[in-house]
Symmetry: C2
Subunit: 714 residues, 2 copies
């Protein structure tokens, strides 16, 4: 990592100074001191307060400069206008790390943003590292450190999960809930405004933090997404990262230059980013939390077939629904498993999956079922449901589940769903949880956790993606097309220019001729085969089809003459309508003639996300992309490997792979064309948006290629 920051001064300081320490009840400066002391920080805590020489029974120094010992970390809670001054003093003192809790900087805009810029420059100049400002603080639960440099009122349980939160209040809420659910944390950091240290520095640090085995994140935005991706990609190969990204609906709509542009106006670029990183994105904080407990204590499954054991039918059905809805499947047991269950369980029990041991099932039934199901090679995960009824000792069942699971060597991940809040249910939950079997209240939350376990397991341990292979392209030709358009002060390429650009990059284009009048059209038709399509090549005409600028199924010369005349009229009218000068109105009208193509119509596009950069898109069929939104996205760069994944991700993929008895299309060719478009947008960053719509693709060996293309420069 280029811009690595050494964060050990933040998370493993030997001494901490609180600047703005206070004894006033309700003051943040008081809470920070209390937290540091109560969490039993293993180093020295110094307090700084220019107005008092004693704070909370401890000596307070007028300034950080007055502290006799070296200070590794300063926690800053002084009022906003004083922050810059105390930071300067920290610099003089040789403090390496800062946690700036004070708010009122960039997040309020205006003067706050100016203050932050000044502060950032000062910190950079002094070579310090800083979390915040506008952070609720950081924690490290490592017993060798025990740092709680935050004003969060709950003390987190130590554990193996790191939590990074861009929102202080969400971070606080998670830690608060975690308390009640036995989720323990290794590291917590409230990112605040990410002025100096941002999420990628933290992920990089967590890669090497031995206490951390998994990472949960709450994210609203990224400051350096590209760098983030490269750090995250590396981390997720060894430690799972689960993320909630808020602001799904906040992204503004794009101008409707192309479908690609407007389609990407949703939150898909972040989905593409997380996919690329190998991170698992979930929708809600509650899920983040449910999943955290599962990845903290269980191994990852090797498949996605779940066995469900239950003592009540309803919850078993709900679990089946939820598991299937989450993309998992219900294991089909081996015959031996079913036999054992049939022999040993109550005759009224259902011995297929879900196994319903029926009400009244006691510890012995759970033991029988677990011993049959857990070793079954067709089972990848187990969900054990218990609805504590009056007649059964729920605690004894819980103890039995733990004993059998451990006896069998915890061979597969197992979750428990303990419905109910009675005392016996709560005690059962405690017994399971203490034994590292995460428990859930509802079948649905159990299913969410199982899905995440499975997905996370697919990422962890994976090989790095192969390096992209550079495809052979004519960069100079492409550059000169773009340069000419820019020289003419245009932003939108003509159809002819767009197709030439594609050809320069080896993107397949269907045979076509560009003509300006009937004579040229008739001559061009000699080189093509009827039926033909004639398209108006008028860059200003955005909605070509809707304006009648596309005439299809031209079957003979008479129809061709008629079509060309028609298109010329449309072009002239359009030019007059937008009050072009006489010269422009009279300028030649370009018409593109193409043979009617056969095969599947697909769409290949590229748009530029304001934060994340170029985003490639693949979809099936012009209008369906728009209405059904069946589209796959991928951040640039896309090689052939990634392109294949995109193709296979759309719902209409069966149409391409030979549903209904058709021959499958030439997927390799399709992928290659997507990769070429990606290389084009990488090489010519002045291109803001591209769309090939339709790109015809048919079976191996049959003609394929772009029939229409649009390109817009930034």
């Amino acid at each position: 990592m280029k811009d690595r920051k050494d964060l050990s001064c933040i998370f493993r300081p030997r001494s901490v100074a609180v600047l703005g320490a206070s004894a006033r009840p309700g003051a943040i400066g008081r809470e920070v001191v209390k937290n540091l002391i109560n969490f039993e920080f293993q180093g020295k805590v110094f307090l700084v307060n220019p107005g008092h020489d004693v704070v909370l029974s401890m000596k307070a120094y007028p300034s950080v400069l007055d502290i006799p010992d070296p200070v590794d970390l300063a926690v800053i809670v002084v009022p906003g206008p004083q922050v810059l001054e105390v930071v300067k003093e920290c610099g003089e003192k040789g403090v390496k790390g800062l946690v700036i809790i004070t708010a009122g900087f960039r997040e309020i805009g205006g003067e706050g943003a100016n203050m932050e810029a000044e502060l950032a420059a000062e910190i950079d100049r002094r070579g310090m590292v800083a979390v915040g400002p506008n952070s609720v603080g950081v924690m490290n639960a490592d017993p060798a450190v025990r740092l709680n440099a935050s004003f969060i009122s709950t003390v987190p349980k130590p554990g193996n999960v790191a939590l990074l939160s861009q929102s202080g209040s969400i971070g606080e809420t998670i830690i608060d809930f975690a308390q009640f659910q036995d989720l323990g944390f290794s590291i917590f950091a409230s990112l605040g405004n990410q002025m100096n240290v941002d999420s990628r520095h933290l992920l990089d640090y967590l890669q090497r933090d031995e206490q951390t085995e998994a990472v949960l994140m709450y994210v609203e935005s990224f400051r350096h997404p590209k760098e983030f991706v490269s750090v995250a990609k590396r981390l997720t190969r060894t430690k799972p990262v689960v993320v909630v990204k808020a602001g799904r609906t906040a992204a503004g709509a794009h101008a409707a230059f192309s479908h690609t542009g407007s389609l990407a106006g949703m939150d898909v670029s972040y989905d593409a980013l997380f996919e690329e990183c190998g991170m698992v994105r979930v929708s809600t904080v509650e899920e983040l939390f449910d999943i955290g407990r599962a990845i903290a204590s269980l191994d990852f499954p090797t498949g996605k077939c779940v066995a469900v054991l239950t003592n009540a039918g309803g919850p078993g059905i709900l679990a089946t629904d939820a598991l299937v809805a989450q993309g998992l499947c219900m294991a089909e047991f081996s015959p031996e498993t079913t036999d054992t269950l049939r022999k040993e369980l109550n005759p009224s029990a259902a011995v297929s999956n879900p196994v319903d041991m029926v009400a009244g099932a006691g510890p012995a039934d759970y033991e029988t079922s677990l011993r049959a199901v857990l070793p079954d090679p067709k089972v990848d995960l187990v969900l054990t449901i218990l609805v504590p009824p009056v007649m059964i000792d729920g605690e004894e069942v819980a103890r039995t589940i733990v004993r059998v699971f451990n006896d069998l060597g915890r061979p597969k991940p197992m979750l428990a769903c303990l419905m109910g809040l009675s005392k016996t249910a709560l005690k059962g939950r405690r017994i399971l949880s203490d034994a590292g079997i995460p428990t859930y209240l509802f079948p649905e939350s159990s299913a969410h956790a199982m899905r995440a376990l499975w997905r996370v397991g697919q990422h962890v341990g994976r090989d790095p993606a192969p390096p992209l292979i550079r495809l052979d392209t004519d960069v100079k030709a492409a550059q000169s097309i773009v340069q000419e358009v820019r020289d003419q002060n245009r932003k939108v390429l003509s159809l002819q220019e767009s197709l030439l650009l594609m050809m320069a990059y080896g993107v397949k284009v269907l045979p076509y001729e560009s003509v300006t009048d009937v004579e040229e059209a008739l001559a061009a038709a000699e080189k093509l085969t009827f039926p033909l399509v004639a398209k108006l090549d008028e860059p200003d005409l955005v909605h070509k089809t809707e304006s009648g600028g596309v005439i299809a199924d031209i079957r003979d010369e008479a129809a061709l003459v008629h079509a060309v005349q028609n298109l010329r009229d449309i072009a002239r009218t359009h030019r007059q309508d937008r009050d072009a000068d006489d010269e422009t109105v009279a300028a030649p009208v370009h018409v593109i003639l193409q043979q009617m193509a056969r095969g599947h119509e697909t769409i290949i596009g590229m748009t530029t996300d304001p934060t994340l950069g170029p985003l490639l898109l693949f979809g099936y069929g012009g209008i369906y992309v728009e209405i059904i939104r069946d589209i796959a996205f991928h951040l640039h760069p896309v090689g052939e490997v990634q392109a294949r994944k995109m193709i296979r991700r759309i719902s209409a993929y069966p149409l391409l792979s030979g549903a209904r008895g058709d021959d499958p299309v030439d997927e390799a060719e399709l992928a290659l064309n997507i990769a070429r478009l990606s290389q084009l947008c990488g090489d010519l960053p002045e291109i803001a948006e591209m769309e090939i719509n339709p790109f015809f693709i048919a079976a191996d060996g049959l003609p394929c290629g772009a029939a229409d293309a649009r390109v817009r420069l930034a």
Copy 2:
């Protein structure tokens, strides 16, 4: 209601006998007695136990016949084999109502099912009504009754929500959770096996139960769906009904006779049923529960624009995401609201929606915001979020919210999201909840509840659907076509027969000719206009297109001759392949000739759900229906009004209504054709499955109609 049952003996008995009362710890017969006594049943409780004359300090009678007073309700917890006997005695005694808790009947199959049949007959004969068997019991919290005839360990809080559960354990779980969340119940019934009393009788009773203002249901299956629909339709016009239907993925796959058949193999028929009933279906028990609390205490909104107030940015963003994902919208404030907020809130507050009052916002900020936002005519619902921070008195904020909400006359539904489980958060939650403001832990659950409030409000108070108008059709012609096919021992109609059947019911069919050889084809072509489509009319050939049985775009006579010869060859080969006798192989090959049609390809279908009966289907475009599953379903009968709703419900509807500059299609014509198909399946119940695919539809006045149809008899 035809089959109405008087359930007052179940829910408002003056005396209850417990048959199988027991003092043995853990026995259900003990729990039932304890529950009756502890809940302070307002009538007399009698215990029956042939072995003991004292049970739990109360006199026990050897048999129900020995009880000196009249008995309205008997709760039966004796072992399975004794149930029939004690029920007979109840009959003799003149007991009117039974709650049979004993299990081991139909749910275990075999002997259990026989026992249940015998029991059902006995109860019918005696004119008694019975809940169960295999029920956990019933409750009525009305202070004049106070009946808890169940073995559920939690005592529910009295309230205005009725809960019906097909699963005893799910019912118990909901009551258990409700305890912790201030959801009170009027009536609870565990439906058990629905042997005598089923869900429709209960809904009918709840219609007239004055304590009940809303109904929550957990359902796995229906015994009499048609009757259920008519009762539920009436109830939901006055009281909202929210349902979880389990078993989404359990339905088996249909044989792939038509797309319609295989598409309906999911759980869509239940979606259609609930839609028809005006019930709101939700996915999880947790949602049912979140929503119950909202509909129990709030009015329904008049629109779906939500104002969000928050003291922390992150939760505000999450709420926005969740609300929009739930189909609600963020209110755009009136200028006066924004002005007031800007003037009176902290300058760093965000005054657009969500209103972020920023950390440190106290009671005064909440008061200001609520007074500005609640009366704003652009706001239909309000979500108030509070993340209790260290510095703020959460209880005081909660009290302020309550005071202001009541001061303003509770003008709109308002929910609160109180994140955190600290003491102050819990106290704040109590304050809000006691004042009838439902509170949630997460923005997402708040959004679920808001969506349900909005949807429920759309159903309550609606007018009954207009009665179906009978369309003019030739029933006799249709019957004779079907009769002839049956006479020939066939199940599948030929294309010709199918089209004639459609025409008999006034369903539009595109002009076509049926021919058997080249000469006939050439003659027929005179009556049609090239280009033509030729289709093999071979009922046994299920996958016509895939087998080459459809030849499109025939442009002249030569091509026609070639096509007809080709189709004849395919038919003969197909017949030989399936080892038909020589006569059959030599029989005439029927080919349907049609003009190539223009317009949108839609699909209109009908399939028969094994439980719910005929189900109509509408979708856009042949292959897209199959792959994208963009389909609207509706239970039969479908009139023009319902058909229009189906048309508008598909995602591709914009294509039909004039997206991309096309003329909108003739929706009235399309709806009429769907209604005609519905009438056809109603009149001829021997039809099991029909599909018109494609049905071409274009703008008003242009030709439209079925181009292909398949019909299968039961």
